[in-house]
């Protein structure tokens, strides 16, 4: 199976032209296959009994606010702007390849520009104003992995305390990691590609930056990352729609989640939440 399409440069040299577009169907199949496999696994696995909740360092549950803040407004705005931009990018990139031709270049360029700006904002915002390390996988998350593989260990690890994820479950962290790799590849190659077509953003200089082989590699990386994103988006939407993930999904709209859900599904030691301020008394 070819992952790229080859051509011949004006000098007679074989060069990569772009990703092989038939991989779109493989990406769709991969995404749907993952969804089906996961849904079957959830249905068939022994139902793990979640351990008793923990109130962590806050002492009592009542000390916690009734709604636990999960996503700040800027973080939510970034998420939805990025989601809209990515859907436009995927639609404009792949619908013509799937046999629905339309004038896609302008919308693709503008959506890409929005996504680049959103990513730049997110990087700065995450570094300055968010718990930057909370989303990155750590060795401490391996316990969750063992729990997924071996359901009886889901509740307890080596007879220790109840093992729950921090703010982000391992699956969430791994998805973010994949999206960082794919998204930054798309952003970097997309930024370079802006010189290949006339846009308001950069001078039109299609022969600058790389030679024919180099541009072929840029196109191929851009295409392959985009194809990977097709599968990733399918998986993301699937998890967002799963009933047990609904509070997490809704928190991306409202910004917060219920205290009971927080206590039952997260480890307050790994995701510390400020206790409610004491009532004002006179």
């Amino acid at each position: 199976m070819n992952f790229v399409t080859w051509g011949v440069s004006p000098w007679g040299q074989p060069v990569i032209l772009h990703a092989a577009w038939h991989l779109l169907w493989y990406a769709l199949i991969a995404g749907v296959a993952f969804v089906l496999a996961h849904a079957a696994w959830v249905l068939l696995r022994p139902s793990p009994a979640p351990g008793p909740g923990s109130v962590g360092a806050s002492g009592t549950a009542d000390a916690l606010p009734r709604r636990i803040v999960r996503h700040s407004l800027p973080a939510r705005l970034f998420h939805w702007v990025m989601a809209a931009a990515m859907l436009v990018l995927l639609g404009t990139a792949f619908l013509p390849k799937a046999g629905l031709p339309f004038d896609w270049v302008g919308a693709h360029v503008w959506a890409g520009a929005v996504l680049l700006a959103a990513i730049a904002f997110h990087v700065v915002h995450a570094l300055c104003c968010m718990d930057f390390r909370a989303i990155w996988p750590t060795p401490g998350d391996l316990g969750e992995l063992r729990g997924i593989i071996d359901p009886p260990q889901f509740a307890k690890v080596a007879d220790g305390p109840v093992r729950r994820p921090g703010k982000y479950p391992l699956g969430n962290k791994l998805y973010h990691l994949a999206l960082v790799a794919v998204g930054l590849t798309l952003a970097a190659t997309g930024l370079a590609l802006l010189v290949r077509v006339p846009t308001p953003f950069l001078p039109h200089a299609p022969h600058s930056l790389f030679d024919d082989a180099g541009w072929g590699a840029v196109y191929a990386l851009h295409g392959l990352a985009g194809l990977s994103l097709v599968a990733l988006v399918i998986i993301h939407v699937y998890f967002a729609l799963r009933p047990e993930k609904r509070p997490i999904t809704l928190s991306m709209l409202t910004g917060d989640m219920d205290r009971d859900y927080y206590l039952a599904h997260h480890d307050p030691e790994r995701w510390r939440v400020d206790a409610s301020p004491p009532p004002i008394t006179q």
Binding site: F102, D103, R196
Partner: protein, 372 residues
């Protein structure tokens, strides 16, 4: 290894004598071999009409079909007839036949004039109306076998700074800047012709305006024809029969050359007042370029007063490094069409420099032979 030229490569030649046989062949061979990446391979069958667009590319190995379906023996695709008020032209009718056919000359002189302006007498005797409509882009980077967007690659060599793009598009370019080279296409769009397309599964009819594709829709082809499609009829409704027509083509040489720009106009008038008009520019975009703003501005106005509407013809034009002259040319062609000035006649309204107007600031050579 050097490319072999001027020798016809091997292909299987099919010469059906009916439309049904031709469709069956295209159904079997049209989409050709599929590559292991799932795309259509380079070996699909090629439909041969007059042969003027493709034989040189076969010899140059730019196109290497494994099979060629020659339509020369399909009599049903040839000739001009009336069906009620409509004039029906077979796509294999030669351009010379179209140019001199009495019914076309009487009712649709615009098409007769456009056909008469194609290339040279020899080519018009061999070239067909269907072939002229469906011919491929004449960008020499593309024709030269360079791996541009239109050839499935990832760049337009003609749009790059420093490229030779004197003959390329000033309207509707999206990545690719090649133009439609057809002279008859603007005329048929102006006449609101409809084209009947068949394949083994279905028959469909498309407006001439929708027959042509810009690069924003599909960057690898100029028409809606799929590999197994066959253009079987060109039908011209009576809508514009006998109205005032204007066709003008500007080219480097008086004969045997493609247009730098052309205009086809049909106008319905009451006295000197224009009631309704359709104006279409040729060779300025990848498809015939209609001028709806000009048409709207003309409606209900006397010709002399409406001539300034020609300025609207060039709204949205984006010239390349060497084809800025086409903007002036298009505006002046539109003005002449509105005023009804005979092709080639100098215009006082345009000043002494004629069609080209003010000198083009680009270093490209000036091309005003017909206008001077």
């Amino acid at each position: 290894m050097a490319t072999v030229r001027d020798g016809m490569p091997h292909f299987d030649l099919y010469q059906p004598d009916s439309v049904e046989d031709a469709l069956a062949l295209l159904d079997r061979l049209g989409r050709g071999a599929h590559m292991d990446d799932g795309t259509d391979g380079p070996l699909r069958a090629w439909v041969l009409a007059g042969g003027l667009d493709c034989l040189e590319r076969f010899k140059d190995r730019i196109r290497r079909p494994s099979a060629v379906v020659d339509l020369a023996r399909v009599g049903a695709l040839r000739g001009v007839r009336r069906e009620g008020d409509e004039t029906v032209i077979g796509p294999m009718t030669t351009l010379a036949e179209v140019a001199r056919h009495p019914d076309i000359r009487e009712r649709f002189g615009l098409l007769a004039e456009a056909a008469a302006q194609v290339a040279s007498p020899q080519i018009r005797n061999q070239g067909t109306l269907g072939g002229n409509l469906s011919q491929d882009a004449r960008c020499w980077y593309y024709r030269g076998g360079w791996p541009c967007y239109r050839a499935g690659g990832n760049i337009c060599y003609a749009a790059a700074p420093g490229a030779m793009n004197r003959e390329h598009a000033v309207f509707g370019a999206r990545r690719c800047v090649a133009v439609s080279p057809s002279d008859t296409a603007p005329a048929l769009v102006a006449l609101e012709a409809r084209l009947v397309i068949r394949n083994a599964a279905r028959t469909r009819m498309v407006a001439a305006e929708d027959y042509f594709l810009g690069p924003e829709t599909d960057i690898t082809r100029l028409t809606v024809l799929e590999p197994d499609d066959l253009l079987v009829e060109i039908r011209i409704p009576p809508t514009w029969a006998g109205t005032r027509f204007h066709f003008e083509k500007v080219r480097d040489r008086p004969v045997w050359d493609f247009a730098l720009a052309s205009i086809a106009a049909a106008m319905r008038q009451t006295g000197d007042r224009i009631d309704q008009a359709r104006l279409v520019l040729g060779s300025v975009a990848a498809r015939p370029w209609r001028l709806p703003q000009v048409e709207a501005a003309l409606a209900g106005r006397p010709r002399e007063e409406a001539a300034d509407a020609a300025d609207l013809a060039v709204r949205g034009a984006v010239p390349l490094a060497h084809n800025g002259y086409k903007v002036t040319l298009a505006r002046n062609l539109a003005r002449r069409a509105i005023l009804g000035q005979p092709p080639g006649a100098p215009s006082l309204a345009m000043g002494a420099s004629g069609l080209m107007g003010a000198p083009d600031p680009s270093p490209a050579r000036q091309t005003g032979k017909e206008a001077s």
